[in-house]
């Protein structure tokens, strides 16, 4: 732990985590619960086994973009095609720099044609804001950071809809995957989207700080199980979802990170586009692969990936997958090893054999 507790921020739900016995650790400048007394494994299992898990992800940032040029601005600064969105739709996207590498990965919410809402990574918040504000100068838009006023909860797992329906009058059944509604919970204005980072059905709920504890407790009393960062990371790694600072960073472009599906080169010119085109023409410098260990062991971040007795890559995320029953990893390898050749992962000096596999490593249960 490099961050001193004195400089760490607390989310508005900090007292709830303490009440619940959460083990608090520094994460992206915040003091966050890594697990509760139930333990990471049982928390993970609760979400996979059909319960509803509740996560405080208020460390994440929110930015509102409004104005006559909102669409044109977002078409310029994000990689995905914002013109494809309809009101109430969410889109996974990214911010790139002029080298075509990632400033951040984000989600874009279209509220209406002149009003959008972005959800960004906590650790990138100030960098993202500076970038957005710099480029906003050329457009008739207002960019406002609402992170400090906003709590973000994730409710994930099969029972999520049933539990959340108990505290909102909005018809949740009518919210499709990557769709949202603007509504009220306990009198507070909220955005509810059918999105998440676990591979299970569920919602993300944006609330004003003042409503956070009441909504958290309502969901907890209805049976939602508090889930810490450790289980959250297990759930996302098992789905092969990219995490900034691991699979994506300012060292890689969408070509390497397998994120060309959110990078619409044909839409219009946008920041990073020409660099991505050039990289695509030259070919990826390294490629992301999913690996399953066929031998015993747990792959971890920064472990070497080996082929032909030499290092050909590095693990970016790894874990023991309870569902797959083996070690699973995501990592970058030199392009010539992305599809052929025997791979292994070096664990404490030993080469443990691994096989390439598609991600997700286990079945996704998101409601598409």
């Amino acid at each position: 732990m490099n961050e001193s507790n004195a400089t760490l921020a607390k989310t508005p739900l900090f007292d709830e985590h303490i009440r619940l016995g959460g083990k608090m650790v520094p994460f992206a400048g915040f003091e966050m619960p890594v697990q509760y007394p139930l333990g990471a494994l049982k928390e993970y299992q609760a979400v996979r086994d059909g319960e509803a898990g509740i996560f405080d992800i208020s460390h994440m940032g929110q930015v509102r973009v409004t104005g006559r040029d909102a669409l044109a601005f977002l078409q310029q600064v994000t990689t995905n095609d914002v013109s494809k969105l309809v009101d109430g739709q969410v889109q996974y996207s990214a911010l790139l720099n002029d080298r075509g590498t990632f400033i951040d990965d984000i989600t874009t919410y279209r509220i209406d044609e002149n009003s959008y809402y972005l959800c960004i990574n906590a650790a990138n918040r100030h960098k993202d804001l500076a970038h957005l504000l710099k480029h906003a100068a050329n457009f008739d838009v207002s960019v406002s950071d609402e992170s400090d006023e906003t709590v973000l909860l994730a409710l994930q797992g099969k029972k999520s809809q049933q539990l959340l329906q108990g505290i909102t009058e909005s018809d949740l059944e009518s919210i499709g995957y990557y769709r949202f509604t603007v509504t009220t919970i306990h009198g507070a204005k909220t955005i509810i989207s059918r999105t998440g980072y676990t591979g299970e059905d569920g919602f993300e709920i944006y609330l004003p700080n003042s409503a956070a504890s009441a909504v958290w407790r309502s969901l907890e009393n209805a049976g939602a199980i508090p889930i810490g960062l450790a289980a959250r990371d297990m759930l996302r790694t098992e789905m092969g979802y990219a995490l900034y600072g691991h699979e994506i960073s300012d060292d890689v472009t969408p070509v390497e990170a397998k994120l060309m599906w959110i990078t619409k080169l044909e839409k219009n010119d946008f920041l990073g586009r020409s660099a991505v085109q050039a990289r695509r023409a030259l070919g990826a410098q390294k490629r992301l692969v999913g690996l399953k260990l066929t031998g015993r062991g747990i792959p971890r971040e920064q472990y070497k990936i080996l082929a032909d007795g030499k290092e050909v890559g590095e693990v970016t995320s790894g874990m023991h997958s309870p569902l797959a029953g083996c070690g699973v990893a995501i990592g970058y390898v030199e392009p010539e090893y992305a599809e052929v050749g025997e791979l292994s992962i070096e664990i404490r000096g030993k080469a443990v054999p691994a096989e390439r596999t598609k991600t997700p490593f286990v079945r996704s249960n998101v409601r598409k």
């Binding site: 333990g39 494994l41 450790a230 015993r296 062991g297 747990i298 971890r300 309870p322």
Partner: protein, 126 residues
């Protein structure tokens, strides 16, 4: 927090049960709780000889990798192979079914070890 009176302890939170010229090693209740859910245990080969403080096994929790160190000079008789399929026994029963290795004692020097009361004091002061 359980600290059985009949065992000896190290500052690295291993326990040792000495029975004549053989002994059993494991990690303490405090250690398993600090580590969290253990999902993998790597055991040493039978016959391996160990000096005090040698890292002889690895326990991995969801988030962390930790070495286990030999409390006394010894030679491995057998590792607890049950832990390869059920590593959670280290969490559930650290002094019983969660034992890690049985050894032949090769040097009876235990001056580095603490008794239960001293280990309790050590934990209280940490």
């Amino acid at each position: 927090m359980t600290i059985p009176a009949d065992l000896k302890y190290t500052k690295d939170h291993e326990w040792v049960r000495i029975e004549g010229d053989t002994a059993t090693f494991g990690v303490t209740d405090h250690a398993q709780e600090a580590l969290g859910d253990i999902v993998f245990v790597e055991l040493p080969e039978a016959g391996r000889s160990m000096a005090i403080g040698d890292a002889f096994a690895v326990v991995e929790s969801v988030k962390a990798v930790s070495d286990v160190y030999a409390p006394i000079a010894s030679e491995v008789i057998e590792g607890n192979e049950e832990l390869e399929s059920t590593p959670e026994k280290v969490n559930e029963d650290p002094y019983g079914e969660g034992w890690i290795v049985k050894v032949k004692v090769t040097d009876s020097d235990t001056s580095n070890l603490m008794d239960a009361a001293a280990y309790q004091t050590f934990l209280d002061e940490a």
